[in-house]
């Protein structure tokens, strides 16, 4: 078949204009032929014979008249066994292999196979000749790390097919034919363990989408208890620089109770990715006892890598997440940072000379962000099993101001908002999520009435705190002062968490519920305290013991000893029975 060809007629930064007589579709991939190199590019606008392409590489050295060859395909990723543990760039090039081939620097125009072709996978068929199958139907499985990777009928095969031939158990590479299927018209198709899928189209080969309900446990107290995220839900973390967005995501990627974590490092510092790269293989996943890397895929398109590929990287990441969802797994996608992705769109939009929206972001910013987050979700597969994709994206608002377009567009579509505050990070209160300004629409791991009660203490305490700034400690009544101390206590021992402490860094749901009850006896209790100095001293003492208690291993002797100590101290000053722990609705 003759390839569709075109010629370059204009170059502006990483955008080239091409003229062609052939039929070309929007978002089709083209290759610019420059000497021996082939530079990948994507069609982003068509006006008659003139096309605009964004080039995924540096455009230096291109000239008018260079040929462009169109592939007839949209930008796709390879799906199949062997994705886990990989480190890809935004176009799914494996970076370690690239380093082996090219050394320290990223050379342009080199594209490697995303899935290794030389590994033989242990295939066990689960379907047989004569079975009727459709897209995403499981033909067999191969073990991939701790998972049973399903070999499925490619998602683009939307009709009904009959299996004509299927390989028996044995070792095959990803590109070996493992089955032949036939459609109703008698056309035969060859199926291997891998296939491709266009990244900008959501994978919808499931039975139905459901409302997320079950919590995605992150083991970070403030998130799980106060600002929960659901499996299949979405959340965003906006924050100024230095507020700890990336650290929070790194902690989540380590501790989250999900099957697979996909990290999309999109336009951020390379150094931070390196920490993950070098650290993860060493860390042990407490749930499986295996290296954390075995459940991780990293898509890494750092700030100095070509901008157009940055735009592609979040789509690459979400497509891989959707693929594993089809196997009945819970996948968490962490994108850091979606602002860089939005900026990549803005750069392209500027070159296309589109009419700019707010802060020069394109008018389609909101709908693009919305359709990205909408790719998350809890689904029921055709087999009746459930799978989910949860998306957590950081946002880096210019000047730390949440009023800017990317933050606002994101807030419209996510289910939880974890806003980081400069004030809290300056005061070294980590994680610096603002407990009062942030919100979540998902159910907490702790009963809702308890959380609401704690939140009301926090709210009142904050009010008193504001008032005290004006009237001073002297002008505050002892009742108000106690509320202030209680809310400060709650902040200190529960909302703040030390991510470098081995025990405190990850707190199980059981433990969160357990200590929350003790916390509530303090928050809701009446104390025999008559002056402020005494109260402050008493609460400082409580705080010290509670912090040690947080640092003790769950249910260890130390833990129990500190608990007794804590309860004894509460009893000293608390009036009434310990059993009528907290009184709801009355602060």
């Amino acid at each position: 078949m003759a390839k569709n060809l075109g010629k370059i007629v204009g170059i502006n930064g990483n955008m080239v204009s091409v003229e062609t007589d052939s039929q070309v579709s929007l978002n089709e991939v083209g290759f610019i032929l420059l000497n021996e190199q082939r530079l990948k590019a994507e069609v982003i606008r068509i006006t008659g014979k003139r096309l605009e392409l964004q080039v995924f590489e540096a455009t230096s050295g291109l000239s008018i008249g260079n040929s462009v060859e169109f592939s007839g395909e949209l930008l796709t990723v390879e799906l199949g066994p062997g994705l886990l543990t990989q480190i890809y760039d935004g176009l799914q090039n494996p970076l370690p292999e690239l380093a082996e081939q090219c050394g320290f620097f990223l050379q342009r125009g080199i594209y490697l196979n995303a899935l290794p072709r030389n590994i033989e996978w242990d295939f066990t068929p689960s379907a047989k000749v004569g079975d009727t199958v459709s897209s995403a139907y499981t033909l067999g499985t191969v073990p991939e790390g701790q998972f049973k990777h399903r070999v499925m009928v490619p998602f683009s095969y939307t009709e009904s097919y009959t299996i004509k031939d299927i390989k028996s158990s044995g070792k095959y590479t990803v590109d070996t034919e493992i089955a032949i299927i036939e459609d109703e018209k008698g056309n035969k198709y060859s199926v291997s363990m891998m296939f491709t899928w266009p990244v900008k189209r959501p994978i919808t080969a499931y039975a139905e989408r459901l409302k997320p309900g079950a919590p995605m446990v992150t083991k970070t107290r403030i998130v799980d208890t106060f600002l929960p995220v659901a499996l299949g839900g979405t959340y965003c973390i906006p924050g100024p620089f230095g507020a700890g967005k990336t650290v929070l995501q790194q902690v989540t990627s380590k501790n989250a109770e999900v099957d697979i974590v996909i990290i999309a490092a999109c336009g951020e510092r390379a150094g931070e990715v390196v920490e993950t790269l070098k650290e993860f293989p060493e860390l042990i996943d407490p749930q499986t006892g295996k290296s954390l890397m075995e459940r991780t895929i990293i898509i890494c398109n750092t700030s100095s890598m070509p901008v157009a590929a940055r735009e592609a990287s979040v789509y690459t990441a979400v497509t891989l997440a959707e693929y594993y969802r089809q196997m009945g797994l819970n996948v968490l996608l962490l994108a850091d940072s979606t602002s860089r992705w939005a900026q990549a769109m803005r750069e392209m939009s500027g070159r296309l000379e589109e009419i700019p929206g707010e802060e020069a972001f394109p008018a389609y910013l909101e709908s693009t962000i919305a359709s990205f987050y909408e790719r998350a979700g809890l689904v029921r597969l055709k087999t009746g099993e459930y799978g989910s994709v949860t998306i957590g994206g950081t946002v880096s608002p210019a000047g730390g101001n949440f009023e800017e377009p990317v933050t606002q567009a994101t807030l419209k579509v996510v289910g939880a908002f974890h806003g980081l505050s400069r004030e809290r990070s300056d005061a070294r209160k980590y994680p610096a999520i603002h407990p009062l300004e942030s919100w979540s629409k998902y159910p907490s791991v702790v009963p809702v009435e308890k959380v609401n009660y704690a939140r009301s203490v926090l709210f009142r305490g904050n009010e008193v705190g504001q008032m005290m700034k004006v009237v001073g400690e002297e002008g505050t009544s002892i009742e108000d002062y106690l509320i202030y101390l209680k809310s400060d206590f709650l902040d200190f021992v529960y909302l703040q968490q030390n991510s470098f402490d081995p025990i405190d860094a990850s707190v199980s749901v059981d433990r969160q519920n357990y200590i929350f009850d003790i916390l509530l006896t303090i928050l809701g209790g009446k104390f025999d305290l008559s002056n402020k100095a005494e109260s402050r001293k008493y609460f400082n003492k409580l705080r010290q013991i509670f912090l040690d208690y947080n640092g003790a291993e769950w249910q260890s002797d130390d833990f129990k000893k500190l608990e007794t100590e804590l309860i004894d101290l509460i009893k000293v000053k608390k009036s009434g029975n310990l059993e009528d722990a907290y009184i709801f609705q009355k602060v």
Binding site: S60, G61, A270, T302, Q343
Partner: protein
Amino acid sequence: MRKVYSKIESISGNVISVSAEGVNYNDLAVVTSSHGESLANVIRMNGNSVSLQVFSGGRGVSTGDEVRFLGHPMQVSFSENLLGRIFTGSGKPRDNGPELTENMIDIGGPSVNPAKRIIPRNMIRTGIPMIDIFNSLVESQKLPIFSVSGEPYNELLSRIAMQAEVDMIILGGMGLKYDDYLSFKETLEEGGAMSRTIFFVHTAADPIVECLLVPDMSLAVAEKFALGGKKVLVLLTDMTNFADAMKEIAITMEQVPSNRGYPGDLYSQLASRYEKAVDFEGAGSITILAVTTMPGDDVTHPVPDNTGYITEGQYYLRNGRIEPFGSLSRLKQMVNGDTREDHRPVMDGMIKLYAAYKESQEKKSMGFRMSDWDEKLLKYGALFESEMMDLSVNIPLEKALDNGWRILAESFTSDETGLRTDLLNKFWPSEKESR
């Protein structure tokens, strides 16, 4: 022989357009006008029309002037001969030395594969306690110095250039005042550091396009030296001028501005320079310290704001001192654990006490009564500012830590410091030692 084009179609600011064929994107050209020759590079192509930015500016270029394309992008000579030399932004000698043309290398090369990066692990000592103790500079780090006009940021840079434990220094000056350039030169010559230094200097009087080239020239040369095993420290001043130059060209090219007139790709442009900081496994490294002046002392201005998202921390230079609050080296914990056992506790302890001093000071200024504790803090704060924060203090880390203990001992009793008992036993100065 390359073709000469002699019809310039349009001239707007520093950007000219000619009709030409067979030109490559980003290629260099020589524009010959009655005022002399200037380099130019291709920044946009549309059909036969080629737009170039002229390094020495569009002023004096006429429509009949000649444009000759060189067939390669901007390059810089790389050899040991560069050491001790001073160049302009376009690589021409600014001293009276010979022009260097051997071993030309491209500037603005590809980025380092993240999979080849390593976790930083070596501290760079500077002899400045506010850096060494409180926010250690780490090899391969990229750090800006946030400051405002009028602060001695260039003096700070030249001191770091003189004292930092690196193999060589590359200084990239953008929009430097001529006097500042001369004082850099004098300081380094007097200090005997000139032989390990290379200057790429664009002064405020030079054409704006050359300003854009300075970081790329400096970093391209740094990269080559680093690959050759050298520990290179790149000092850039002032990145805000670089961003402003970018803004000027972008507006001339009629690009849609995004935030306060800056082009939409400001973040990517800054990042592609800062991300050149790297530690090559088995070879040398590049560390970047860059001054970013904050217009109106506003950290949310697009240039410092975008910079903060890119770099690994920042130093705030205010009132002639490196501020302990706000300043942050994100990589410090990778190196300050194995310097001396008291490094981290002293760092934390002294900062906490200094924060308490600030509160006492505030109370004092509001007319509140000073307690004994407040008086102690006030004494401590004064000592801390004069013996630690003052930029003229120049002592190695160990000496600075010892001084820290002495300052603590002069101001407080040992149990007031909140430091661990085992450290107090080991490091707390006895009566005689403290003055």
